[in-house]
């Protein structure tokens, strides 16, 4: 294959795999937005917190990998529930921008605690679940098994979510989200639905963190603005999904991953911060041209 063609091929493969992480984050963002109209800026920090917990369990306390993952996810979920309890619920009557600032506060607090608890080793590494990689035939893109596992988890998570929201329990939740007052009248606890939503979102965030952390070295705030930052790309994926569509969030995540990777092509090498520039430009174009998203099912547009 020719030079540029191969480069683009590699960028697409890498972008799609990186996009899996964004998609997981975006799914959590969309879940929360559908439930409460909140832009959750703590979504990525659910991931970093889970990652740090798993790291501590695995490398500091010597737990087995599966228990470490379970512990990390549990910590992420606990943080999600705490966020709901301490910030989102008390601010339920405040303006949505206020809640946004509140969730950003949660993210910052989490970062602070990560710095505090792990201040001896500022830069951390964690072994991968399966430490091997291979080259994609023809294109020659390096792919780690860890990334494939992430892809698999994304597929499973999307399927589970799709099935869940078609089940009676899932439909009840959607009803409660759309018509809270009516739901209370027929005896659905809106509060419990809200807790469940935040727990699910935090779980998705935790998965994103625990799966993406081992690919790189990480520091506090890894998923928000560190090396593995997925907050802004996750939000962009959610915007592409019109903030509402689950399949759209997955498609959006993969798209954003690929767009961002175009910044690594060799003719962009002279441009400083090409990835950030592409993301900013892409976001502007999307919001100016298609503010209601691209990957949106027709019914969702009408709603």
């Amino acid at each position: 294959m020719s030079g540029l063609g191969q480069e683009v091929g590699v960028a697409i493969v890498t972008g799609l795999l990186q996009g899996c992480v964004y998609a997981l984050v975006a799914l959590g963002i969309v879940l929360v937005f559908r439930a409460s109209g909140v832009f959750n800026f703590a979504q990525a920090e659910f991931g970093t917190t889970g990652l740090f917990a798993a790291y501590a369990a695995l490398t500091l306390w010597g737990w087995s990998y599966s228990w470490a993952i379970a512990f990390g996810l549990a910590v992420a979920v606990a943080m999600g529930l705490l966020t709901e309890r301490l910030v989102v619920h008390p601010l339920r009557n405040a303006s949505r921008v206020t809640v946004l600032v509140g969730t950003a506060g949660v993210a910052l607090a989490a970062i602070g605690i990560q710095f505090w608890q792990f201040n001896e080793t500022l830069i951390m590494t964690m072994p991968r679940i399966v430490d091997s990689f291979f080259l994609v035939p023809v294109i020659g893109a390096p792919v780690t098994v860890q990334q494939l596992i992430t892809l698999g988890v994304l597929v499973v998570a999307s399927l589970v979510l799709a099935l869940f929201f078609r089940s009676p329990a899932g439909l009840t939740i959607q009803a409660a989200q759309q018509e809270p007052t009516a739901a209370e009248l027929v005896g659905i606890s809106v509060r419990r639905v809200s807790m469940l939503t935040w727990a699910m979102a935090a779980l998705l965030g935790g998965l994103a963190g625990i799966l993406s952390g081992p690919n790189l070295t990480f520091t506090a705030g890894f998923l928000s603005f560190g090396a593995g930052r997925a907050l802004l790309p996750g939000f962009m994926a959610a915007v592409l999904a019109g903030m509402r569509s689950m399949p759209g969030a997955v498609a959006g995540g993969l798209t954003v991953g690929v767009v961002e990777q175009m910044g690594t092509l060799s003719f962009m090498i002279e441009v400083p911060g090409a990835r950030a520039m592409l993301l900013f430009g892409f976001l502007l174009v999307v919001l100016m041209v298609k503010p209601h998203g691209i990957f949106v099912p027709r019914t969702a547009v009408a709603a």
Binding site: T98, L108, F115, M236, L283, L287
Partner: protein, 384 residues
């Protein structure tokens, strides 16, 4: 009710005297403190003036203030300007900015470039930095006119990282990661003198901020923040005044940027990261949106906390490092967000509300414990 249904003849007698004579307003004598009250206020004012003006020079001072402490004080003053800048957007106009580090950074690099590369005067550089800050803010503001609040927050977030990595990464202009020298102006090279220079700029910014809120632009912003429809029916050009708010905010941020550049004397792009943006949000919200005093105090508080000065001033190292295992440099990272969340959920007036009784007392009013109460931290939601 029967008589009300009768159609009365329409009064058209134009020569009738005006219904309500515009009587000379009866002005109730406002409450004034007694002589002793004035003396007490005078003493407190003198103390405040002494802390701000004399303490750094070790005039009549029981402490020894070193040059590093004065540098921290200058930084606090500069942060106050930056926080007032965000307050114009977030507080007065209800527009969120999560990319405020870029606003400040643009000013910083502009000023450093003018002084270092063009060899022009510092004061000209501050002016140009303010202008650059305003221009980039207005460009971003033009985007905000087309978006609702939450989406605009995303744009500012993306803009912040774009500015930090792309704009500030243009090595020929900014020196890249190697840093850009930004020497202090001739007379103000010493930390002490630079402190007073920063104070002078803060005074200027406070003056503008005060006149903004006391003039038609400030009233227009308050109206459009809460209810753009009513604002426009009052004859306010909503879009134009949103842009005015961005311009003023950019001006302040540009000044803050220029001052911070020459304060550090060498600047690198990585110091204008997302954490700085969040720090400004902390300062303004914990300080108390729309409360000028509160925002300034909030900025000073976080600047001192960030630099560790507050911890050492109150000898709290033992508590934080010994008891909690929390190193001083991370105190602000842990304490700040907690204060933010507490402010949002429990004490929406922030520091501004805490000090409102004292502020009113100092300006010759009664001491009222409940002054400055705020219902909630309100940011515009009409467009969100």
């Amino acid at each position: 009710m029967s008589d009300a249904t009768r159609v009365l003849p329409v009064v058209t007698d134009a020569s009738a005297p005006p219904a309500t004579p515009a009587a000379t307003p009866v002005v109730e004598q406002p409450w004034r403190p007694s002589r002793g009250g004035w003396v007490a206020r005078g003493v407190v004012w003198t103390l405040l003036g002494w802390v701000v003006l004399a303490l750094p020079l070790n005039v009549l001072s029981p402490f020894e203030v070193g040059v590093t402490d004065v540098d921290v004080a200058s930084l606090a003053v500069i942060y106050a300007i930056g926080a007032l800048s965000l307050n114009v957007l977030l507080g007065y106009c209800g527009q969120i900015s999560l990319g405020h580090q870029a606003f400040v950074g643009v000013g910083a690099f502009a000023s450093a470039y003018i002084v270092t590369n063009l060899q022009l005067s510092f004061f000209l550089a501050v002016g140009v930095a303010a202008l650059f800050g305003a221009v980039q803010a207005v460009l971003l503001g033009a985007v905000s006119l087309r978006l609702t609040g939450l989406y605009f927050a995303l744009v500012t977030l993306a803009y912040g990282s774009f500015a930090q990595e792309t704009l500030f990464g243009i090595t020929s202009l900014t020196g890249g990661e190697g840093g850009k020298p930004a020497p202090r102006p001739e007379f103000f090279t010493s930390g002490y003198r630079y402190y007073y220079l920063c104070l002078a700029f803060l005074a200027l910014v406070l003056w503008i901020d005060w006149r903004l809120t006391a003039s038609k632009a400030g009233r227009a912003m308050a109206a459009l923040r809460e209810n753009p429809r009513v604002a426009s029916s009052y004859g306010i050009d909503v879009r134009a005044y949103i842009l005015v708010a961005f311009a003023v905010s950019g001006l302040f941020a540009g000044v803050a940027g220029a001052l911070v550049a020459h304060h550090d004397e060498v600047i690198v792009p990585s110091s204008f990261d997302f954490r700085l943006a969040l720090l400004f949000v902390l300062m303004t919200v914990v300080g108390g949106l729309r409360s000028r005093t509160g925002v300034v105090l909030g900025a000073i508080f976080f600047a001192l906390l960030e630099e560790g000065a507050l911890v050492s001033m109150f000898r709290l190292e033992g508590f934080f490092e010994g008891l909690l295992g929390l190193p001083t440099e991370f105190v602000s990272l842990v304490v700040g967000p907690v204060l933010l969340v507490l402010t949002l959920t429990l004490y929406p007036g922030g520091i501004g509300q805490q000090v409102a009784p004292i502020r009113l007392w100092l300006t010759g009013h009664r001491f009222d414990r409940h002054a400055g109460a705020v219902d909630d931290v309100e940011v515009n939601d009409v467009r969100a």
